[in-house]
Symmetry: C2
């Protein structure tokens, strides 16, 4: 009943968003199996040193995305989402992220080739020195 989520107070990114992003990653990456019972909102609130309402918001947001299923009095579970649906959901989120980047690029008169080149650079820089995980929160240690 423990979940590997790390909060970084120094980041400008809001609490609930950090938690959502990481939890979403765990679910979509299938590191949390379908049907898994998550910690109760109070339990996780204590563990992450934040309020119950913040955790509640996270669970609620992810439930409305179809990733969680909640039953009052019982708990919150990882939803059983069809692989195709889950894949579509994941894909859609990435597409939205890239649409913003492309919008910026076009406003600045980038060519498609230039954007592709920049993408490759950025990916290379992000994945260099890492083992393949999206985790850049440990500078020292």
């Amino acid at each position: 009943m423990w979940i590997p989520i790390q909060i970084d107070e120094n980041r400008p990114e809001p609490l609930y968003h950090q938690i959502e992003t990481q939890l979403r990653g765990l679910i979509l990456g299938e590191e949390l199996a379908e049907g898994t019972l998550l910690p109760s909102i109070r339990e996780l609130a204590v563990a992450l040193k934040c309020s119950v309402i913040t955790i509640r918001r996270v669970y609620q947001d992810l439930e409305s995305e179809g990733l969680l299923r909640t039953r009052q009095g019982t708990g919150t579970f990882v939803a059983g989402v069809d692989a195709v649906v889950r894949e579509g959901h994941r894909h859609e989120r990435v597409v939205e992220a890239f649409e913003k980047a492309v919008e910026t690029g076009l406003q600045l008169h980038c060519t498609p080739q230039e954007m592709e080149s920049i993408l490759r650079d950025v990916i290379a820089r992000r994945t260099a020195g890492r083992k393949g995980e999206a985790d850049d929160r440990a500078s020292e240690e």
Copy 2:
């Protein structure tokens, strides 16, 4: 002394940001030549139906980016930026935009190949049916 900037009240994007983005595009795209005298903050405020302070903020932000040069009592001009510097500036902005997209992609376990594929899709969709301008604000009309 007229500048082709369009405000869309319906967009969630804040006023100052819409103006900044478009003006930045005009300068970096060299549609506004170096040395061009921009409309006074009061003049542009009237034209765009917003407050003087909002225009002031835009001019100030772009000045701190090195794109404008301002002289109290005289006016605001397009700065003479070295081509290399301007190019670097432009490039840097696009890189930042793509870093966010890549971060999202990695969190969702995208492979580099998948991200490249998505980028091509998004670009294709954005440039289809357009003449090459970043303008999707006219649905009717």
